[in-house]
Symmetry: C2
Subunit: 192 residues, 2 copies
Amino acid sequence: MLKYALLGFLTYKNASGYDLKHFMDVSTSNFWNAKQSQIYTTLKKMEKEGLVLSHTEPQESRPNRRVYEITTAGREDLKNWTAQPMMEIGSRKEKLLLKLFFSAQLEPQKILTELRLQKNLHQAQLNKYQTTTKNVISQFAASKDLQEDARFWEATRRFGELYEEMYIRWLDETIEGICKPVDRLENSRPVD
Amino acid sequence: MLKYALLGFLTYKNASGYDLKHFMDVSTSNFWNAKQSQIYTTLKKMEKEGLVLSHTEPQESRPNRRVYEITTAGREDLKNWTAQPMMEIGSRKEKLLLKLFFSAQLEPQKILTELRLQKNLHQAQLNKYQTTTKNVISQFAASKDLQEDARFWEATRRFGELYEEMYIRWLDETIEGICKPVDRLENSRPVD
DNA sequence: GAATACATGTAAAATGTTACATGATTTT
DNA sequence: AAAATCATGTAACATTTTACATGTATTC
């Protein structure tokens, strides 16, 4: 899967593993991220498969750059992938939900601390989508040859914005639900 | 991470790898899922680490069941994990967003097909949260010793509901944005 | 007669994370 | 003087997925 992200970036311009890591960090990292080491090893594998080609660019007083370019086979592979519709919804892994699912025995105070901390983090993330990310995309959209592309980038940014709004709303609901404990009197003392 | 899910289930009752897979399928699978084979290998590793104990239950005309129970060390490990707040937001991988991000060169028709298909899938998933999942949780909540636990399960279900609503809303927005192409006239013919 | 449920697992491959290793240059 | 940036990579480990292997009993 990472390979498609790398191929995607390489359709715009040739780049080194280091460059690609930075492209990712400032663009897809919120919905697809990878470590530097994984990028290097994946590029190497992709070259073996003929999806990319590399050449070394010597530099003075810096390590050499290994610059990759996408091949025709690489372009085809990427296009096949984008054109092929997915028949399933992507499975997520949400650590917080897993913790919460098994938190009935935990002190409510600890749960609340966790949820409030998460709220702060998600508020910060929402803010980032609405300012930094928005600005970065607008700037690219100003260039004529990228304005079409920018519409798609904006769609992914918008997803992030809606997601964080939803997340914060859910956290508020959940925090409230924990603060206000269930009314047990009716059930625990049957009227007779 | 899977190990905490397994420990969590085992706090309720002893179970085999097969049982645990089914518990997962009907409860946490929407935010934490695993394959049967991973469950078996993880349980084995956990036994080595002393978090669980197993014994074999012979059966006639069926393979033997290997039933696991959680140890004191296992309970502690689980409690440590739930009590330890996370300082970061979980990183997601959304294949659809990655595809969309690199779809500027693809025919709009193909993108629309993909998005409409996804909308159907997410509508079905939303429906499942609102009916099946909701009912399952209500049934458990009826038992007195599980009603507290059921509040947490309900919180994770509610997340799924909000998430799917958000996802569908975003798909609608995005589909509309692609149908109505950008107005290029103003920019491509500068007034002079 | 075919499919599903029951029940276990191994092996290999793919994917991802963490740690280690190097070393000059530029910025704070 | 310390930290960050530039730039590469390897090795070990952990996690996850896919495929293989077996065989009975029940349900459609």
